[in-house]
């Protein structure tokens, strides 16, 4: 009798997974203030992982990712305020609505070549914002104010589950058959199709997943900030930050989004303390330098130039 083959998980997954488990274990003992900072960091990491699923893996630059986050935020706002649901339900609804929206958007925009996809994605947040501003169900753009309980530990565990799912999924996708199909598409979409890779399906699958998780993270974000306002929710700055995180960390890698999130968060807090507004200037500068000189990001570049690290770092 043949024993089932035990899957061998890479060191990166162990490292990341282990750290997450550890964090989850000690969370109840973390003091409130650092816990809030941690939650904020994890929300942004979750957003980075979600963008990584589409932009990182396929190279399709999605400037409109903020739309999914906004949909998630609004779903949470609406379900908690109007439907009187528990916020967790709101987060789930956020994920679901964002999934539906992403399927709709992706079915259309993923047909376009890279540059046109990017442009279409630039336009969607503006269109989305203007649509939300006129929806009667959402008070014609007045925004939603929530009065939830202050429960950082619940916030923590919710976003923790989301990230764990994302990390696991990213690993599974990149290491299996799908990983090869995705790399093939990124390398030469036409050649991939001529070998049987159903490129439209695969792209839509990733896009929908990215939407799902961004919606969930957006829901948690609204929960922690107890409010959803149209101009803030659809702010392109979110898209820019998410993109910065994966560019800095390394697009398409497992560790990249987390590393990117940590760096961007640190830079943000440090420069915010010096002078408001400077953090984006610095982040912008870092992104330019990285995009021009080490486009694979930190993790990608290390893997490229230090072969010994290739087995460990991914």
């Amino acid at each position: 009798m043949k024993l089932p083959k035990l899957p061998v998980y890479g060191p990166s997954l162990w490292g990341l997974g282990g750290s997450l488990l550890l964090l989850g274990g000690v969370a109840p003992w973390i003091p409130v203030f650092p816990l809030i900072i941690l939650v904020n960091l994890l929300i942004f990491a979750a957003l980075a992982y979600s963008l990584n699923l589409i932009t990182g893996l396929t190279g399709y630059v999605n400037f409109g990712h903020v739309v999914f986050m906004a949909v998630g935020a609004y779903s949470l706002g609406y379900s908690v305020e109007t439907l009187r649901w528990h916020p967790l339900g709101g987060v789930a609804l956020g994920a679901l609505t964002a999934l539906v929206v992403s399927l709709g958007i992706g079915a259309v925009t993923l047909r376009f070549r890279g540059v046109y996809f990017a442009i279409a994605s630039l336009v969607t947040p503006l269109a989305g914002l203007n649509i939300v501003l006129v929806l009667p169900a959402l008070d014609d753009g007045q925004g939603i104010v929530l009065n939830p309980a202050f429960e950082p530990l619940s916030w923590f565990y919710t976003i923790w589950i989301i990230i764990a799912a994302e990390v696991g999924l990213t690993y599974w996708i990149t290491h299996g058959r799908l990983g090869y199909g995705i790399r093939a598409i990124k390398s030469d979409e036409d050649a991939a199709k001529s070998l049987g890779v159903n490129a439209p399906h695969l792209k839509l699958f990733l896009f929908a997943l990215s939407g799902l998780f961004a919606g969930a993270a957006g829901g948690v974000y609204a929960w922690t900030t107890s409010g959803v306002f149209p101009y803030a929710a659809f702010d392109l700055t979110f898209s820019l930050l998410m993109l910065a995180m994966i560019v800095i960390g390394g697009m398409g890698t497992l560790l990249g989004p987390m590393i990117g999130a940590v760096i961007v968060n640190l830079l943000s807090r440090f420069f915010l303390a010096i002078f408001i507004g400077t953090q984006f200037i610095i982040i912008g500068l870092v992104v330019i330098v990285i995009a021009l000189f080490i486009p694979e990001g930190i993790v990608g570049t290390l893997r490229k130039y230090v072969p010994e690290l290739r087995r460990i770092l991914e």
Partner: protein, 294 residues
């Protein structure tokens, strides 16, 4: 159903605004056509053009019409810097732009957008500013048209016409057009591709910033660093509507967009009209990616 006179007024305003929209998109059109790259920071340069007009007015009393050429000159320099900073490494020696280069340019220019936008927020006043220039009105039938808008509308068409003349009648212009169609052929003709690409880019930026100056007339209270986030997508949609690389496409696209918004808002309100205007991008890309013009 809104009043006919109101609609005609909206149409007229849309036409005038559209001309200015056309100019800010035209710069993008040029760069896209020549260097085949998309500058995500395009909106920021429009904004800089508008601020240029503002400061020239504040310090020297220039009106926007006068500021436009100054901005254009500054734009030339900026364009050359941009070319050598962002594009030269990617385009040098290549016959066409690859997928990786495309992505690098998209990401690096978005970093630039972040940088410039927030630098502007820091350096310029966070208030909304405007240029107090109102040369009066002119009556055309029942229409009351602001002369400022009329002047910049004319100036915009002039700029586009001039660029058309330059590109089709001068040696350098033709070299730029050749480059945008076939780089190896350009080299065979003995033209230095780097110079051509750099000049084409410079021209694009110069028109963009001049456009920003002209746009300021329509923004008596609206000049602010965040305007970039609105005018960048507007420019992109216009270029796609008119057809990337098609010189008169900017005018067609610009007027179409402005009219859709201005006339549309009489029927469904500004927000929805704006959303619809942006969403016209989708069917165009799906069914007629070369743009409306044949």
């Amino acid at each position: 159903m809104p009043e006919p006179t109101l609609l005609v007024t909206d149409l007229a305003f849309g036409l005038l605004l559209g001309c200015v929209f056309a100019v800010i998109a035209h710069g993008l059109n040029l760069i896209w056509g020549v260097a085949k790259v998309v500058n995500v920071a395009h909106g920021e340069f429009i904004m800089l053009g508008a601020y240029g007009a503002y400061f020239l007015n504040l310090w020297f009393g220039f009106n926007p019409l006068l500021s436009a050429p100054v901005d254009a000159a500054i734009g030339l320099g900026v364009g050359v810097l941009f070319y050598f900073g962002f594009l030269h490494r990617e385009l040098r020696g290549k016959e066409s732009i690859g997928l990786q280069s495309e992505m690098v340019t998209l990401v690096s220019t978005f970093g630039l957008a972040l940088l410039i936008g927030n630098l502007a927020l820091l350096l310029f006043s966070p208030n909304f500013v405007g240029i107090p220039w109102s040369p009066g009105f002119v009556r055309v039938g029942f229409l009351q048209l602001p002369l400022g808008a009329l002047y910049v509308g004319v100036a915009s068409v002039a700029i586009i016409a001039l660029s058309h003349v330059f590109l089709s009648r001068t040696y350098l212009g033709n070299a730029i057009r050749a480059y945008s169609q076939d780089i190896p052929a350009t080299q065979l003709m003995g033209i230095n591709p780097t110079s051509v690409a750099a000049i084409g880019t410079a021209l694009g930026f110069s028109i963009t910033m001049a456009g920003g100056a002209l746009l300021s007339v329509w923004l008596p209270t609206g000049i602010h660093p965040t305007m970039a986030a609105l005018y960048a997508p507007i420019s992109f949609v216009i270029v796609v509507l008119g057809g990337p690389g098609k010189m008169w496409g900017s005018l067609v696209g610009g007027i179409s967009l402005a009219v859709i918004i201005d006339v549309g808002q009489a029927f469904v309100g500004l927000s929805l009209a704006t959303a619809i205007a942006f969403l016209t991008l989708i069917p165009i890309l799906l069914f007629r990616p070369e743009g409306i013009l044949r």
